[in-house]
């Protein structure tokens, strides 16, 4: 079987985010970009499924600007077999992303689509669910364990109340949570090999997907700064300070 894995180029998790002065978004100029960490986990899981003999091919796909090919190369260096780059400079919202993935799934006919549970830039947590709904496939989100057996996948999900175990028929959509696995380090020779692995580029139009921007970002702002505290000398001072603030 084939596995299709979605990866997104996002601002690296170590970078301290700066909001643009005009509030139109966050600065990405000269900022380190990486593969969304949850997607990295999804790639790792796909590779482990393949290495266990339960899949033949791992295809990674990204939707984004030309530079996003870097993230595809990283996934190829980790061990994915080939890559598809859906090239666009537009901002892609979850519904469009899900439609693009649906179009690719129809073309490639994978038995499993693995995605990160959310991207750390917009924290939407919607694409996997929307893809499941659009393609009428079962979905198992927030996976912390995945077991493939024949035409079924057993997935342990991390839910608020604890762990939930699902069995889904393939083809299915699974989204990866943090504890699913620890992604491998890439090896130097594999980075060199990755440069020669196939990477195909398509456009959103070629896939026949219409771009929708259902949500409009009105404003981006940094969280309010915490005010410095004061140190009081005595209980009386504390009471006085609280009174002054109208708290007691």
């Amino acid at each position: 079987m084939k596995i299709l894995v979605g990866v997104k180029r996002v601002v690296d998790f170590n970078v301290r985010i700066q909001v643009k002065a005009d509030g139109s978004g966050v600065t990405t100029d000269g900022v380190k970009m990486s593969m969304n960490p949850f997607d990295e986990i999804a790639v790792e899981e796909a590779l482990r499924i393949k290495e266990a003999g339960n899949a033949e091919e791992v295809i990674v796909v990204t939707i984004g600007p030309k530079a996003a090919q870097e993230q595809l190369r990283t996934a190829l260096a980790m061990g994915a077999d080939r890559a598809i780059h859906v090239e666009t400079d537009d901002e892609i919202q979850p519904l469009t992303a899900a439609r693009i993935l649906q179009a690719l799934a129809e073309k490639e006919a994978p038995k499993l689509v693995l995605l990160g549970k959310q991207a750390i830039d917009d924290d939407n947590n919607q694409t996997a669910q929307m893809l499941g709904a659009l393609s009428h496939w079962p979905q198992a989100t927030f996976a912390s364990e995945v077991e493939i057996e024949g035409d079924k996948a057993t997935v342990i999900r991390e839910v608020d109340a604890g762990l939930e175990t699902l069995s889904v028929d393939l083809p299915a959509v699974i989204s990866a949570d943090l504890r699913l696995n620890e992604p491998r380090y890439v090896k130097l020779p594999d980075i060199m090999k990755a440069k020669r692995k196939p990477l195909e580029t398509v456009t959103v139009e070629e896939l026949g997907v219409e771009h929708v921007a259902a949500v409009k970002v009105l404003k981006t702002a940094a969280p309010a700064k915490r005010e410095a505290g004061i140190i009081v000398e005595s209980v009386d001072e504390l009471v006085a300070a609280l009174k002054e603030k109208g708290l007691i």
Binding site: D12, N14, V15, R16, Q18, A21, D29, G30, V31, K32, E182, P183, R184, Y185, K187, L188, P189, I191, M192, A228
Partner: protein, 550 residues
């Protein structure tokens, strides 16, 4: 243990201006002479540029030679220097503008560009990759691999996935040997392998000890009204006393940003001096704060520079490899500029290798041609001219020494018929703490000045937490038993990232704590520890700061 290995013609350690220029020049020359050449560059930062911190006013000399068409190719040299102010600060409130004719010549900046060297390196890396160089960011060169005859065979990349106690984690991946006919070491100032090479091959036997400074830098986005693209400001004097060398810079970059920093020579004597706090309070002088008020600080970082100049340049070749850039110490201390000399010496190494290939086999040979090339290049000419600048400041203090520098540089063009030497290494200059007074630093105001931790936060530094500490103590008792009583353990105050702390343990005894995750790889501890007890080694690849446009 049997290690996997990969073979190249040339392995380059460090994707800074020196290493990347060497890579580009190698490929250009290989193309010209129609040779196949396998070249790789390894870089400990998570990406090229992540560990690059410079001013920077770039002299485009080397760039013009390497890529005469750099403009058409889109090199990020976008801001020509338009104004050049030098102030002598006399106190927190005051500063005198030094008339242009009194400024030592090496400090003039017409024809230069205000750049982010991180971005210049990213661009150089693109050019190199375009010509077929393999660049591997996120991998450290942790050890030197030697042949049985003692020549350098290549380097070993660091193991990944080792736990703090040395055990192997599930993700363990052993390092690999990268073998080469010639290895170019371009680690920048106080290279961790460069230091070992100096010892193994006694490379600095005819040189003075290297001298260093620590540069602490910030980038701010400022009020567009106050921004003057291309304006370059330097300061001398306050807050340092006449016995402590150093100075500040503030460069107006693109996009309403300014890059500002303060460099202090590491031969300072007062162990109470806090390099971080000096930098912070320097910003309070109106000559600097006038630009910052109402602005926002966006990044922070620190890096050592070597300023020994010509007298400290070691031998550059040894069997199997070459030293280039600040790993050798080519910074021009009078100008505090080392990017152009780093680039040029990288290019000289490339020429050396290609010309030696023509003459025969180069595998693991010593290419002494490198030394000759340096001696007949403009790098040598430049360093020779300014050779007395640093020692003069050292000998006479910054005021008198500065006057000498002016005479030497502006009237005699650096041609005075003698050379001064400064032979005390920087780790040996501290006076006992009891004999010195502790400066009284103002509390951070949260607007212009900040505390250390919130600063380090802006360097986006990260190290995998569960790994062996990369700051190694030869003798773990020295900090508390020797450095604390004698010097009030100066590591607490020279480290710009708050890595070293003296805390109380449960019994109430003093304990030396190392917060290695905060380390911004500046190398100051390796240089300044009075007992030379701290060794900086490479952490797991990709760890360290994640600088954007530093």
């Amino acid at each position: 243990m049997e290690r996997e290995s990969m073979e190249f013609d040339v392995v380059i350690v460090g994707a800074g201006p020196a290493g990347l220029s060497a890579a580009c020049k190698l490929m250009q020359l290989a193309q010209e002479t129609e040779q196949e050449l396998m070249v790789c560059v390894i870089e400990k930062g998570s990406e090229v540029g992540a560990h690059i911190l410079s001013g920077a006013v770039l002299e485009p000399t080397a760039m013009n030679e390497l890529f005469p068409d750099w403009k058409e190719k889109g090199a990020p040299l976008n801001v020509p220097v338009k104004g050049d102010d030098v102030y002598y600060l006399t106190g927190e409130e005051k500063g005198i503008k030094t008339p242009n004719f009194l400024v030592p010549k090496p400090m003039h900046n017409e024809g230069n560009y205000v750049v982010s060297m991180g971005n210049v390196c990213r661009w150089l890396a693109e050019q190199a990759e375009g010509m077929g160089v393999e660049i591997f960011p996120g991998f450290t060169a942790s050890k030197i691999v030697y042949n049985d005859d003692g020549s350098v065979k290549g380097v070993l990349t660091g193991d990944m996935g080792v736990a703090e106690d040395g055990s192997k984690k599930d993700s363990y991946m052993p390092g690999m040997e990268l073998l080469a006919k010639q290895t170019i070491f371009a680690e920048g100032c106080r290279g961790h392998l460069g230091k070992q090479l100096m010892e193994s091959f006694n490379l600095n036997k005819d040189a003075d000890p290297q001298h260093y400074g620590l540069g602490i830098k910030e980038v701010w986005t400022i009020d567009p009204e106050k921004h003057q693209e291309g304006l370059v400001v330097h300061t001398a004097g306050w807050p340092l006393d006449n016995h402590t060398e150093g100075g500040g810079f503030l460069y107006h970059m693109e996009n309403n940003q300014v890059s500002l920093g303060f460099i202090i020579a590491l031969n300072y004597t007062n162990p109470h001096l806090s390099l971080f706090d000096e930098m912070q309070r320097w910003k309070l002088n109106p000559k600097i704060s006038q630009f910052l008020e109402g602005g926002e600080r966006v990044s922070y970082g620190a890096r050592a520079v070597n300023k020994g100049g010509m007298q400290s340049v070691p031998k550059l070749s040894f069997p199997g490899g070459l030293l280039v850039g600040c790993d050798a110490g080519f910074l021009n201390g009078a100008k505090i500029k080392g990017n152009h000399t780093a680039m040029k010496t990288g290019m000289l190494a490339a020429e050396t290798i290609i010309e030696s290939i023509k003459a025969g086999d180069i595998a693991n040979k010593e290419l002494s041609l490198m030394g000759d090339k340096y001696k007949s290049s403009w790098v040598f000419y430049e360093l020779h001219k300014t050779r007395n600048f640093g020692p003069a400041l050292h000998k006479f203090g910054t005021l008198m020494g500065g006057s000498f520098a002016w005479l030497d540089q502006n009237i005699f063009g650096g041609k005075m018929p003698f050379t001064w030497h400064n032979t005390t290494p920087d780790h040996a200059t501290l006076k006992p703490a009891v004999d010195c007074t502790a400066p009284n630093y103002p509390k951070p105001d949260g607007k212009i000045t900040f505390d250390k931790l919130s600063s380090v936060f802006l360097s986006s530094t990260n190290h995998e937490e569960d790994q062996p500490c990369h700051l190694q103590l030869a003798d773990s008792s020295i900090p508390i038993n020797q450095n604390l009583p004698l010097y009030d353990e100066p590591a607490q105050r020279y480290c710009p990232a708050g890595v070293y702390e003296v805390v109380k343990d449960e019994q109430g005894n003093d304990k030396f704590q190392i917060n290695g995750q905060n380390c911004v790889h500046c190398k100051t501890c390796d240089i300044k520890d009075p007992a030379q007890n701290i060794t900086w080694v490479t952490p797991e690849g990709g760890g360290g700061p994640n600088y954007g446009n530093m």
